[in-house]
Amino acid sequence: MRITSANAFETSLNNLQKRQQALTQAQEQLTSGKRVLKPSDDPAAAAQAERALARISRSEAQLRALDVSRNSMEMAESALGHAGEMMQQARELLVSAGNGSYNDSDRLAIAESIRGLRNDLLTVANRTDGTGRYLFGGQGASGMPLLDSPGGVAYAGSAGQSQAAAGEASPLTIDGRAAWLQAPDPSSPGSSLSIFDAMDRVVAELMTPGRSAAAVALTVADGLGDFDAGADNLAAWRARTGEALRRIDSIGERLSQTRLDAQTDRSEAEDLDMLQAISDFQNQQSGYDAALKTYSIVQQMSLLQYLK
């Protein structure tokens, strides 16, 4: 075949340019550390990396939600623990009120103490998680969920529990009505009692002067039953909260694992195999080098060189 000068130059230049392009691309991949920079570099891998990225950002958001849930539940757990201790103190005070040697003023003092505990309990029941969410607000409360009202403490929150968006059940709140106002009533199965009502009743009765020993004993006995029922209900909620915390931990582990898996998937899909890439780069480098050398040799050769 005839070789023509202009075409030979053109072809060699084209080839040199292609090699240079390949070299530049290999260098771009090496510096970015990514094999897939554009969808066309590997459409399937790009799609896979995209799905993995969505999973990563999703598990990160869920882990954030889970942290909020954990924080709330830890605070609820400690609030309920605290409330349990106060119920125990109230119980001890009530037991002491049954002492036959106490007179009205002794009982008045005890009643004042129980009233103090009752007010403290109400404060605990209206605790927030530090960001304005009421721990006992149920599925939403814009103000304090447990309010002193005519006829006793009323619930202004909503029923049920708010859930964080962690993908699995992860509560943000506790149903304040169920925890504080609806303890199972030991005296009449099927009905419920309010801890605050029970305390209000005991305080009112202990404050009433001139009651007989029998009446006081009845107050103490009934009150103890109610206090115990209330304390048991709070303890049950505390146990549920503990259980939720345990579940939150295991959800967290799963989510962290999912995030790690997704990160691995993304990296496998779009990251560069450095060893392979460096070896490819060196290959291309020596190819380009050889092309440049032979080009300069071949293009120098001309008959005109010899015709002098």
Binding site: T4, A6, S40, E50, R58, A166
Partner: protein, 654 residues
């Protein structure tokens, strides 16, 4: 025998070799001229003079200067160059398009998942204005990524039109030049010699023309070359050139097409018949790749935006008075379009008589396609819809719902022969914007909330409560679901605010099944249970009290659930985006492969053509020496002839 024949022989030999040197010099001078064909001085032996002693040669004559040219290889090179130019033009545009489909954190898909993830934080802190502000910002980001993608595709379209214009004006210039060269060639035809350099000039023009549009050529007896494009349309006929023009597409005015103007008549060229050249590549990109990209992005915008809007209006916002201000849509998307064909019947003022209107009824059923609507046969009055993505056809009547869109054409009925291009999603991403400004407008709260009664024995809880209607069928009503057996049998009752029973029914709950079981509707909600109900358990679904509204996150959770819903034609939005991106990636990949292949083929054809026609400098250098030596020898002959003559004069002079 006189010495004069020797002298004339020497002169002729010198002239012939000089001609050889001249042609060689011309070859060397034009070695780097694109499309130059190597020339050769054709020599022939002069007929000898008869004498009694036989024929005495009279030297050499220059017959002609011939041009080394192979018609087949030249055509081959031109047509393969056409294909390479077509693939190259398409690839260049595809690469621009690909930039819009960025993977990773810069992409549309990530903006969508970031918005969804902002709903997680909103669910954590529904009352917190800062969190709401972040969610609003994410919504704005999502809308602007889509509208930027739409605008970037408009830019790509504008680039295609601009390139078409410049290609078309170059084609017109080339066609005129070819016609002029034809005229000059025809004028020289009478000389009996070929006008080599003019022929080369014409080849060069044809070759440049081929890179814009594939041509077929036909040489006439007078030496002129006629050029045809698009399967027989004449671009150059002898010394007359027709003109190409960039026109608006017949259905979508934002697109371009190309027409041939000849004698005042304008004929639209079909993309498929152009065969090759950059114009064909640009049109193919515009009509296939860009449409695919637009419909893919538009489908995502319409489906995602539509689903979010639908769910958002079902929630309650934080505007006072709580619970009474209806929530509005979060996003505005570009509307579905029904474009009438240019040839459709118009009234006296030029307005289309027949009108088609499109309404999106189910965003999740939208397809990434455009549709053609026309009569089954002109005048038949019955209509057929063709989905252009896959060519599937379907007879339709006004009011039909196809692929999530309702087609209406009863108010202004189309006329016989009318055609419409339906674009339900093509421009949905364009101008997509966030409609809400006040963070309080975000509807994070659900209008209903479910709770299991504290006395329940079983473990059943509502794991998700999703409101499916806005407004609720019976606002303010409470639904009570009472389980009547351990086997999941339940009765439901709907009470109004004053506890009057409005409706009731019963059913059996199965695992993974919603309450109520579709198509039953209690009061516009669907609830999923976790845990197991026992006989006598009660779950209430009651209106969210105004006091609980700011802390409620029910609708944020419902919006978040869209993450896993089949929003985009049976796929989740992440899958929808990933496969749209892969679709464009595959187009670029195959576009690149075919550009590489056709480039190699064109390179080989050019090498073959130039192997025949091109100049090899070494060869010319050798010829230079060859002709120089022959010239020197011929001069020597002349010198000998002269010295012979001098000898004769000397002898005669004595």
């Amino acid at each position: 025998m006189s010495s004069s024949p020797l002298m004339s022989l020497g002169i002729k030999a010198m002239a012939a070799n000089y001609a050889g040197l001249q042609v060689t010099g011309h070859n060397i001078a034009n070695a780097n001229v694109q499309g130059y064909s190597r020339q050769t001085a054709e020599l022939s032996t002069s007929q000898g003079q008869f004498t009694g002693a036989g024929f005495f040669g009279r030297g050499v004559d220059v017959t002609t200067v011939s041009r080394s040219h192979n018609e087949f290889l030249t055509r081959e090179a031109a047509s393969s160059r056409s294909l390479a130019a077509m693939d190259g033009a398409r690839l260049q545009q595809l690469r621009r398009l690909e930039n819009i489909f960025k993977p990773g954190e810069m992409g549309l898909g990530h903006a969508t998942s970031e918005f969804m993830n902002a709903m997680v934080d909103l669910a954590n802190q529904p009352a917190d204005m800062a969190t709401r502000q972040v969610a609003m910002a994410r919504a704005g980001e999502l809308a602007s990524r889509f509208s930027e993608a739409g605008a970037a595709m408009d830019d790509v379209q504008a680039g295609v039109t601009a390139e078409l214009r410049s290609a078309v004006s170059e084609v017109n210039g080339l066609a005129r030049s070819i016609a002029e060269v034809n005229q000059r060639i025809a004028g020289l035809k009478g000389t009996g010699q070929t006008a080599n350099d003019l022929l080369d000039e014409r080849e060069r023009l044809l070759s440049r023309l081929s890179s814009h549009v594939q041509v077929t050529r036909m040489e006439a007896n007078d030496g002129t070359m006629s050029v045809f494009i698009s399967g027989g349309q004449r671009l150059v006929l002898g010394t007359e050139a027709a003109q190409l023009r960039v026109l608006q597409d017949e259905s979508d005015a934002s697109r371009s097409s190309v027409g041939l103007v000849e004698g005042g008549v304008q004929r639209r060229l079909k993309e498929g018949t152009l065969g090759g050249g950059s114009i064909a590549g640009l049109l193919r990109f515009q009509n296939q790749d860009l449409v695919a990209a637009r419909t893919l992005v538009g489908q995502l915008a319409a489906s995602v935006g539509g689903a979010i809007n639908e769910q958002h209006v079902r929630g309650l916002n934080l505007q006072a008075p709580y619970g009474l201000v209806p929530s509005s849509a979060m996003f505005a998307m570009g509307p579905p379009l029904a474009q009438g064909h240019l040839a459709n019947t118009r009234d006296a003022s030029g307005v289309l008589v027949g009108q088609v209107s499109l309404t999106i009824t189910d965003p999740s059923a939208l397809q990434a396609s455009e549709y053609d609507l026309r009569e089954t046969a002109i005048g038949s009055g019955s209509w057929v819809l063709t989905r252009l993505l896959d060519g599937q056809t379907k007879p339709v009547v006004s009011g039909d719902v196809v692929d999530g869109m309702q087609i209406d054409f009863s108010s202004a009925p189309p006329q016989p022969g009318d055609r419409f291009l339906l674009q339900p999603v093509t421009r949905a991403a364009n101008g997509m914007s966030k409609l809400l400004d006040d963070p309080r407008d975000l509807a994070a709260a659900s209008p209903l909330l479910a709770s299991s009664l504290p006395g329940n024995v079983g473990t059943a809880q509502s794991s998700s409560l999703r409101v499916t209607a806005a407004p609720l069928p019976t606002p303010g009503a409470t639904s009570r679901i009472t389980f009547t057996s351990d086997a999941g049998d339940y009765t439901w009752e709907l009470f109004d605010a004053s506890s009057t029973l409005l409706a009731s029914g019963s059913d059996t709950w199965q695992p993974n099944q919603a309450i109520p079981r579709p198509p039953t509707d209690i009061n516009g909600f669907t609830m999923q249970l976790s845990g197991v109900p026992r006989t006598g358990d009660v779950i209430n679904v009651e209106p969210t009290p105004a006091g609980a509204l700011s802390g409620n996150n029910g609708n944020a959770l419902a919006l978040l659930a869209l993450r896993d819903a089949a929003l985009v034609n049976g796929r989740t939005l992440t899958d929808g985006w990933a496969s749209a991106m892969a679709d464009i990636g595959v187009r670029v990949q195959t576009g690149r492969a075919s550009a590489e292949i056709s480039d190699v083929v064109a390179g080989q054809a050019e090498t073959a053509r130039s192997g025949q026609s091109g100049v090899n400098l070494d060869e010319e250098a050798a010829r230079l020496i060859q002709f120089q030596q022959s010239y020197q020898a011929a001069a020597k002959v002349l010198q000998v002839a002269q010295s012979l003559f001098d000898t004769l004069l000397d002898v005669a002079g004595r």
